[in-house]
Structure formats: structure tokens, C-alpha cells
Amino acid sequence: MTKLHLNWPNSGRRGVPMADFVCITAIKADAREPNLRKIHSGSKVIGRIRRQDVDALQLAVHDELDPSMLDAIAACDRRVALRLRAIRSLSRAAASRQRLATRLAPHADNFEQVTAILDELEQDGLLDDAVAADQIAQEVLRRGPIGTYKLTSLLRSRGFGGDLSRSVAAKYMSDRDELADALEAAGKAARGLDRLPLDTARRRLTGRLARKGFSAGVVRETVDRTLSSE
């Protein structure tokens, strides 16, 4: 952990060893985030922390901060930074609680800190596995047709639970025509197969469609129709 060593503000003691404690010269509201306070020591901001942390640490202007208090402020500051990291991660793409935890873990002091941030995000309605699974399913299906098994396993690989993955996949696949989707997928998957012996082409197309998660019966019918039409 980096210990903050700052000169006394306006001390004029240039060139002397830095003090082991600092003085709070101002506690200002963050212009962009009303719940945050910037703790100033002279021209330096020594922490951007939550209002409730200011209260909990009983910080006030003119307080002299010893190294342990500086560490406490730094820990609160890192918590705010971790939450911001979580917000930015969620703004880039929807994620499951488990996936977000994995992303935050390397930047957190401990696992409890990650859990606290995730709980807070859930309470604020910013993190919801059901909503995220829904959004990811829509995004995946926008890219091209896939089968139910593939969508389920993809959601599971993104950290969603088995029940949720299955129910979201079922919801999105129930009103789709799996055979039509498989035939559409086969259009791309069959490229270049016409130069191969029929047995090899059948085997390869079957594998490609199976990997896209279409059921065995649909794959068989799709392969028959696709290769007989070539």
C-alpha cells in the first residue's frame, strides 16, 4: 500500500524530509458526484471518498492525519475507485455478478470489498443477473442464429447460473424456428465444402452445426437439405 507523505501545506520547508502526517485544509463536495467528498491537503487531493466515510472517520478541516488515518482514507478512496471500475465495466457490456467479481478482484484489497461493491450495485438496481442474461442473449442472437444448447452454454460460461441460463435461452428460442435458423447458419457453414467428397462434407457440416448448438435432429435435416441442394 502506498503511504501518502505530503509536505505541510504552505510550510515553506522546502528541501526538508516530508512530514509523517498531514493536515486537512478542505473537504469539498465532488462536482460530478454529490455523494463524494474530496479531502484536500493544500493543493493536493489526498482522497475522494464517500460522504458517509467522512462521517465514519470523523474527518474535519484542520484535522492532523497520522499515517493510520491516511491509510484509512486511502482504503476508502480505493473503494470509490473500485466502484467506478465496476460502473465502467458494466457500461462497456452487461455482465453477471460472478463475471464482474472476477474483473474487480485483482483491483480490490480483499474479497469482502468486492462483495460489498456488488451488493451495493445490486441494491441500486445496476447489477441484476436476470437483466444481464437477457441483454447478452439479445446481443448474441443479433450476431447470427445459434441453437438453444449453444446459447445456454454461452450464458453459463459468462457466469450465470444453470437455471437462469436455461430459462433465458428457452425464452428467446421458443418463438424461433430452429430449422430455419440452422439452414441460415448452414449457408455460411457449408462454404467450401462443395469441393470435398460427400462423406467428408457431411461430417464437417454436421460438426459445424452441432458446435452452434442445434439439436441432433435439426442438424441431420439441415445437412440433408443443404448438401442435397448443392
Partner: protein, 106 residues
Amino acid sequence: MADRLEQLHRLLATEPGDAFCLYAMGMEYARRGEHEAAAAHLEQSLVTEPDQPYAHFHRAQSLIHLQRTNDAHAAVEAGLDIASTQGDDKAASELAELRASWGPHG
């Protein structure tokens, strides 16, 4: 059905003015074909964090959809300046490609 845009609005509300959230909203609006809102959010993102060549890139694309050709060219030039300052060859080449795709009268 869960709405990604609604969620992005909520995320932005917790970090107002955050360049990342604004960029994400710009991208989502662009994906929906709402280029006026896309360009506005990307511009706001650039006000907070000017050194984003790809924000200029996507803003330029939205501006072209809005037929604001001069503004789009200015956005590409701004993006190219940043990319060359940062030594980001990939961004520079993509911005140059975008400009070339518009042709001489684009």
C-alpha cells in the same frame, strides 16, 4: 425486455459526466440509428476525456449519417491528431480509412 439504454442511463446517473459511460451511451444510440443522440453523447465524452481517437471515429460516423459532412471531417482530423500524438497506428489507419471511404466529396 431489458433495455440496455435504460441501464446505461442509470449507470451514468451514478457517475455523471463519466467519459466511459457517455461513450457507451453514444455507441448504444448509434447502434439504434439515433445518430443525433449518439453524436451528442460522444461529444460530451470527448469534453471530459479529449484523448479518445475512437470517440472521434464513431462521432464522425454519426455525423455522416446526419449529413454534417464538414463536422465529420473535422472529427476525423481531430481523431487523427490524437492518434498520431499517442502513436496509435491502428486508430490512425482506421480514421484514415473512414475518411477515404467517404470519397473526395464525402
